[in-house]
């Protein structure tokens, strides 16, 4: 066997090892109920804001504290705490992908990804509203 072949095999083995190691770091998408069953484990929640509770954010008091109640499609809800500024147009987003973990009774959120009705999307709904507004 040639040296090159050995090196190729070693590198490929290394790449596979890296991917195996990576798969250990992978997280999962969970519902609120299943997330509560795994406190402390990093997970992703797909949820939306429960509009019946106020979104708590006051830049005067603390610009790094946002708290709201998230509700998932199964109807479960959980308080979310996020130590950063409130993303703009958060209220408008129809879906949130929340990255973080469940702590004692609340969801400690590390990152919020907003799924807006029309960030890069031209959903018929949003456009229709626009059209009717210009009507």
């Amino acid at each position: 066997m040639k040296t090159t072949h050995i090196i190729i095999l070693v590198f490929i083995a290394a790449a596979i090892a890296v991917l195996v190691q990576f798969s250990g770091d992978l997280t999962t998408y969970e519902t609120i109920a299943s997330a509560k069953a795994k406190p402390g484990k990093p997970i992703n929640l797909i949820a939306k804001i429960d509009k019946s509770h106020p979104i708590e954010y006051d830049a005067v008091k603390n610009p790094n504290y946002l708290s709201f109640v998230a509700v998932d499609t199964l109807g479960n809800s959980i308080k979310v705490v996020y130590h950063d500024a409130k993303p703009t147009d958060m209220e408008k987003s129809e879906r949130l992908v929340l990255k973080g973990s469940v702590k004692e009774g609340y969801f400690d959120c590390k990152n919020i990804l907003l799924k807006c009705p029309s960030k890069y999307k031209d959903t018929p709904g949003a456009m229709k509203n626009n059209l009717q507004a210009s009507n």
Partner: protein
């Protein structure tokens, strides 16, 4: 129904050319193929003429579609969906072109346009390779033409046309009225994030990069079909060109992200970024094995493989970013237009045949049985290419998580810290590639005498000294991810310095100052510098707005657990007109103005250094979101020094708007008395008559009475407040209120109740909207200019080597004649 005021002609012209480009590209592909397989020249000539003629028709069609679409957008013909969804009347002229690439259709047109451009250079220059290469190019054109077709075949929609009418695409009651157009006053506008000058030039360059990866692929494909491997020389400058342009395009995207997106950096390992980086890595791998084959006869098979995989990965990235599959993992992918199957077919149409052909021909592709020597350049170049390829494979495997979920029905998501998941691996790739970049030039092809290789000793010593100096005195203490990662950063810094120094030294030691032949060295110098810039700016990135509590109540609220390490508390609140302590600086939010031209609200933020006179103003801005979104998109601003950037962006702001409904409460007190308010207490220290320090608040002919008060907040902060009254003559009385902005407190001096006992009445008001305020984040990026400098030098190096190669092959041609 006859609709009033519609302009239907442009759309009809557009549709016509869309169909024409489809038909002509099919004809062109077929005729180039026919011309290629014809044995005798007499038969060949008419086929070639038809082929070139129809490729000309494709080019004219693409240009016409471009012009028509530009006409539609610039004339605000909102009956067209493209103009309605991607532009509005207030858009500046310089951004009209950006509307093209906000939508998928326009960016496909851009891609086609570059294919035409590259095609004509092939026709002009490629000689005997013109016919087979152009037939691949034409097939690509055909595939791209289907993307903008927007026609139904047996109830299956093929492509999405940029020329469709709004009223045909959606349902709304107004479309039942003939004069519906008069109700559509304006379009929904260009996405605010794209309203940036980088967005005018980054997409064209990037798409030229995308398009140009086709050429090495087409050469390789043609080589496999004809079993002729002489394409390797003419393909070389093309591969260099593609690597340079694609690399530049990617880094322009990084510059855009840095200047316009507010994630506080230039690279986030976002799937969209990764998807264009990976083909670049494999292309660089292919470029190096291409050189290896040309100079030593080794590595032809990998060259085929890398060129095939590079273009296929470009197509795969097109699929990833345009199919909507990245939805939950990326912040900036395109919308799903319902073309997923078509996009997937586009990938497979090129990848499968090329790969199948590669394996059929594999045995017949020449290779040298004897092994490369360890002391040879080709050996180490091959190792480097292999590392680049595997690094790319690892990145794309991680990026494809949503695809795995689709394929296997799994439910996995990226790790909690996705950036580190990439960094912790790629740092080792950076080390290896840095070292190989430094060392490999000092090997000669085939075999290297030991005495020759020893030339590297001096550069190695110098690099070690420089990188030790950086490590020891550069304060690189990125400890968040543990000592092993920090050590790896330091080793990588050595690698980057070594790559830079060794290649610089090679200009004299190896090339004896022959600048003409120095393209590769210059590109490698640039790469080393860029790598160094990446390492230093990322590991030394500091948050300046971090927990530096001046007036701002930036602290962990009581009752909340302290922030775990790494939890961001990076936002600082600034009240208008109040200087706030922020580490080395006092920062003040001075004012804000709306520029009617670009519809942005600029905030003037004043930075005053506490030591020295490093004072400056920055103007980060926000622009109101469009397309039915509330809120604002923030654009950062940066103060550039040669050795660092101070980078700031607005995370939120509150305007004092609406009437203030809270009432003043009256309180009675004497000197030394204490009263309470909701967030602390107020002490009246003394009453002063005509105090000199308040001189500017009353006129000389007035008698003034000022209260000297201390406000003590719950958090233990002290503020002074001096409400007063000014009396002129007997009757004229003015109240001089004072405010404590950060406590939302307004104090007025109402009257003296009893002069003997010293009883006074003050009014106290606490209000939520006392003042404008904003929250912002401030970062420092040291040495980020090294990155940009490195990119520029790398591109220069590529240009030098392209010129050199084209020249050399030109000279050889003239010699042969």
């Amino acid at each position: 129904m006859n609709y009033i005021g519609e302009h239907l002609l442009p759309g009809q012209i557009g549709h016509f050319f869309a169909v024409l480009s489809l038909v002509a590209s099919m004809l062109s592909a077929f005729s180039f193929y026919k011309a290629d397989v014809c044995k005798n020249t007499a038969e060949q000539k008419p086929w070639l003429q038809i082929a070139r003629f129809s490729f000309g028709a494709v080019t004219i069609s693409i240009l016409s579609m471009f012009l028509v679409l530009y006409y539609v957008i610039s004339n605000h013909l909102f009956e067209y969906k493209y103009a309605y969804t991607h532009s509005d009347k207030s858009l500046q002229i310089e951004y009209l072109l950006s509307c093209f690439w906000e939508g998928q259709e326009g960016s496909f047109l851009l891609w086609s346009f570059w294919n035409c451009f590259l095609g004509w250079i092939i026709i002009w220059k490629a000689g005997k390779w013109e016919k087979p290469v152009m037939s691949v190019v034409s097939i690509t054109q055909f595939a791209l033409a289907t993307m903008v077709l927007g026609v139904y075949f047996f109830n299956v929609k093929v492509g999405s046309s940029p020329f469709v009418l709004l009223r045909n695409e959606m349902e709304a009651p107004i479309f039942s009225r003939p004069e519906y157009l008069s109700f559509i006053k304006d379009g929904t506008g260009l996405n605010t994030l794209l309203q940036n000058y980088w967005m005018v030039i980054h997409p064209p360059i990037l798409f030229l990069g995308f398009a140009s990866t086709l050429i090495p692929f087409a050469f390789a494909f043609a080589g496999l079909i004809k079993n002729d491997h002489s394409w390797i020389k003419p393909a070389l400058p093309w591969a260099s060109f593609s690597a340079a342009v694609l690399g530049l395009g990617i880094m322009m995207g990084a510059a855009w992200a840095y200047e316009s997106l507010s994630f506080g950096g230039y690279w986030a390992w976002d799937p969209v970024e990764n998807a264009s980086l990976v083909p670049w890595l494999t292309l660089i791998a292919g470029l190096h094995t291409n050189l290896v084959y040309k100079n030593s006869g080794y590595s032809l098979r990998p060259t085929y493989f890398f060129y095939i995989i590079s273009f296929s990965l470009i197509l795969y990235s097109t699929f990833l970013t345009r199919s909507g599959i990245l939805g939950d993992t990326s912040v900036h992918a395109f919308t799903d237009l319902g073309m997923n199957t078509q996009l997937l077919l586009f990938v497979l149409l090129f990848f499968i045949p090329a790969l199948v052909l590669f394996f059929i021909r594999y045995k017949s592709i020449p290779t040298i049985q004897q092994e490369e020597q360890t002391y040879s350049r080709e050996f180490w170049m091959f190792i480097g290419s292999l590392i680049l390829f595997l690094a790319g494979a690892v990145i794309i495997a991680k990026t494809s998580i949503p695809v795995w979920n689709k394929l296997f029905g799994t439910n996995i998501a990226p790790p909690e810290d996705p950036e580190f998941a990439y960094n912790q691996i790629q740092i080792f790739v950076a080390i290896l590639i840095g070292l190989l970049t430094a060392v490999t030039q000092y090997f000669k092809y085939k075999s290297t005498p030991k005495s020759y290789f020893q030339k590297i000793t001096l550069p190695a010593i110098i690099s070690l000294a420089i990188s030790l100096a950086i490590s020891l005195f550069g304060n690189i203490n990125y400890e968040q991810k543990g000592p092993a990662f920090l050590l790896a950063i330091h080793i990588a810094i050595f690698g980057a310095v070594f790559a830079t120094i060794a290649n610089t030294a090679y200009l004299w030691l190896g090339l004896k100052g022959k600048i003409k032949a120095a393209g590769a060295s210059v590109a490698h110098i640039g790469f080393g510098i860029a790598l160094l810039g990446i390492l230093i700016s990322s590991s030394k990135k500091t948050v300046l707005s971090w927990n530096t509590t001046g007036i701002s109540p930036l602290r962990i609220e009581e009752g909340n657990k302290p922030n775990p390490a790494g939890n961001p508390a990076e936002n600082l609140t600034l009240f208008k007109g109040v200087a706030t302590d922020m580490g080395r600086y006092m920062v003040t939010y001075e004012k804000d103005t709306v520029n009617p031209l670009d519809r942005k609200r600029y905030f003037e933020i004043d930075f005053k250094s506490k030591q020295g006179n490093d004072n400056f103003k920055l103007y980060p801005d926000v622009i109101k979101n469009n397309k039915g979104m509330e809120g604002f998109a923030a654009n950062p601003a940066a103060k550039h020094y040669w050795y660092k950037d101070i980078f700031v962006y607005i995370t939120s702001f509150q305007e004092n708007k609406g009437a203030d409904t809270t009432q003043f409460q009256n309180r009675t007190l004497k000197v030394k008395d204490t009263i309470f308010y909701s967030n602390g207490m107020i002490v009246l220290n003394s009453v002063n008559i005509n105090p000199a320090e308040q001189k500017n608040r009353y006129a000389p002919d007035e008698m003034a009475l000022f209260l000297d008060m201390t406000v003590i907040s719950k958090e233990g902060k002290l503020y002074r407040a001096n409400p007063g009254i000014a009396i002129k003559g007997q009757s004229e009385l003015r109240q001089l209120a004072d405010t404590v902005m950060s406590q939302s407190l307004i104090l007025v001096f109402n009257k003296v109740i009893d002069q003997k006992t010293g009883k006074l009445e003050i009014g106290l008001k606490e209000t939520g909207n006392i003042t404008d305020l904003l929250t912002l984040k401030v970062y420092e990026f040291p040495m980020i200019n090294l990155l940009w400098l490195g990119v520029v030098i790398t591109v220069l190096g590529f240009i030098m080597s392209i010129i050199q190669r084209v020249k050399v092959s030109g000279e050889k041609l003239t010699k042969m004649v």
